[in-house]
């Protein structure tokens, strides 16, 4: 077997996606309810509550403004959670990966399968929010076909970073650092709740290096009836995080699992 197969995934990775989907299917109702319920609360509390004082922002109602932001942040949260807690459980607690590595699947297939699954789960939650937000008239459906691939790509990027963190993590506690230092700042400072340009220049510059900024920059226009600018740049950043995250994760995971 050639060496590249150790580092690059093959079709076999879909067997892991199928495994995770099979588990999800057992609890699809509560899982979907969570996907619908949470964003509904956000939209009501912030869109209506806070929106009453905000008024219009960038030419749209506040609920329309944050609906697209919450779609993006929900992809981040869902894919991150799956790449951290769920993947760590399968790797360390359940030893699922150890069992899988006795089959034709390689570490690269496991990693790619987890990334794809995390991205799909992120997409499921994004679609749930889009559906809920459209009841409030906060979604322009014409842009949704453009938004979906971006949602999937963002999910891959967030999952790739999360799986890198999982690969070096010794316990669940370690994930708190990642949430406090990376995920929560992105949630608050990447344009989900207010336009980036309200940040001081330094803040805006830092935000340009974070993947959520670029997910929001693409998803907000497409979901609100506009056309984004700098599409190639935003896609490149998201793809870059995906590739760099995958590369780090495959090296770290191989070192961790193949001993």
């Amino acid at each position: 077997m050639s060496t590249w197969r150790h580092y690059l995934p093959g079709w076999a990775c879909w067997a892991l996606v199928a495994r995770n989907f099979r588990v999800w299917r057992k609890l699809w109702l509560p899982s979907l309810l969570g996907n619908f319920g949470d964003p509904l609360l956000y939209l009501l509390a912030l869109g209506y509550g806070l929106g009453h004082f905000v008024g219009r922002i960038e030419g749209m109602s506040y609920i329309t403004f944050i609906a697209s932001g919450i779609v993006a942040s929900s992809v981040m949260n869902t894919a991150t959670f799956e790449g951290l807690y769920s993947a760590f459980t399968r790797m360390s607690v359940q030893k699922t990966y150890a069992a899988i590595l006795a089959t034709p699947l390689e570490v690269s297939d496991v990693l790619a399968g987890e990334m794809l699954w995390s991205a799909l789960k992120g997409t499921i939650s994004a679609v749930a929010i889009i559906v809920v937000a459209s009841f409030f008239g906060a979604i322009h459906w014409a842009g949704v076909p453009w938004a979906l691939p971006v949602i999937l790509l963002s999910g891959m990027a967030f999952a790739a970073i999360a799986l890198t963190v999982t690969a070096i993590s010794r316990s669940y506690d370690f994930f708190m650092y990642y949430f406090t230092l990376v995920v929560t700042p992105m949630f608050l400072f990447c344009g989900v709740f207010y336009p980036l340009k309200t940040l001081p220049t330094l803040g805006q510059t830092i935000a340009q290096f974070l993947p959520l900024t670029h997910a929001v920059a693409l998803l907000r226009p497409w979901l609100t009836g506009h056309w984004p600018t700098d599409i190639a740049l935003h896609l490149a950043v998201l793809a870059g995080y995906t590739v760099v995250g995958y590369t780090l994760a495959i090296l770290l995971l191989r070192r961790r699992l193949l001993v």
């Binding site: 067997a15 199928a18 150890a98 069992a99 006795a102 699992l257």
Partner: protein, 314 residues
Amino acid sequence: MDVTVPSNFLEAEGLYKAYSGRPVLQNFGLRIRTGECYVLVGPNGAGKSTCIRGIQGITPLDAGEIRIAGQPVQSLPHGGRYTLGVVPQEDNLDPDFTVAENLWVYGRYFALPRASIRRRTSELLEFMLLADYAHKPIAALSGGMKRRLTIARALIHEPRLILLDEPSTGLDPQARHLIWQKLRELKRQGVTLLLTTHYMDEAERLADRVGIIDHGRILDEAPPAELIARHIPPMVLELRRLDGSRPDPEDWHVGRVAAAERVGDTLLLYGADLAGVHRHFAELGGLQLLLRNANLEDVFLRLTGRDLREGDRE
């Protein structure tokens, strides 16, 4: 078909593995014949698991070559994993699934056709006496059932060689006997077995050949009876005093037995015929006596740890 079946199904040669400078396998070699049950016995840390994981292609080895049916594993599709079934030491059944689903999902990892997974699942659950538990969650199984399911899982793709790393560790006697029975059935079906254990009775019951491993190399290998005959006189007499004092303070046994060994409070006497020696100590009284056949454990302890004093030969 004019396919020549090599007499050795699995060959390992010159395997080396060190963890941060500490050698675990040193010039380790192994030849397992087609249809044979080979049992690797050794103390903890002797290199048994590393050997199994190395053959599987999980542990990267520093040197050496592994061949399955004459082919180097690197040249086989997926490192030979379609030919290998693995029963790992630690339980890693998928707790998110039921018994039958575990086999289903595992079969899908091997990309087996759905119909053949269904057929194999009912065959294997029947074979491993788990048919009534097909739709039970893993948490509802006893230790022995989990181990049987792990063996069933390793058989889903009909491998011709099964690697079992301490398959009966932690099981109660009933569960162990059932596992042994099933492994013998597999052997009769022509499956080649490589098994590790640190239970000598397991090795004696299952093995066509036993290899004793310590410090990462095979010290000796042979069929169990031959291995015993090679290293130990056929009879053993164990002597012990209830108060823990020396069993034979006058060294009466010296010159009357082939070999003797003192281990803590126990004196072990070895010989071809110990009836006279046994009678002497029985008449003396005050001793706990056990006259028994020499077994693999005696050989194992001799080769891996405690030394037999040879100076007492007549």
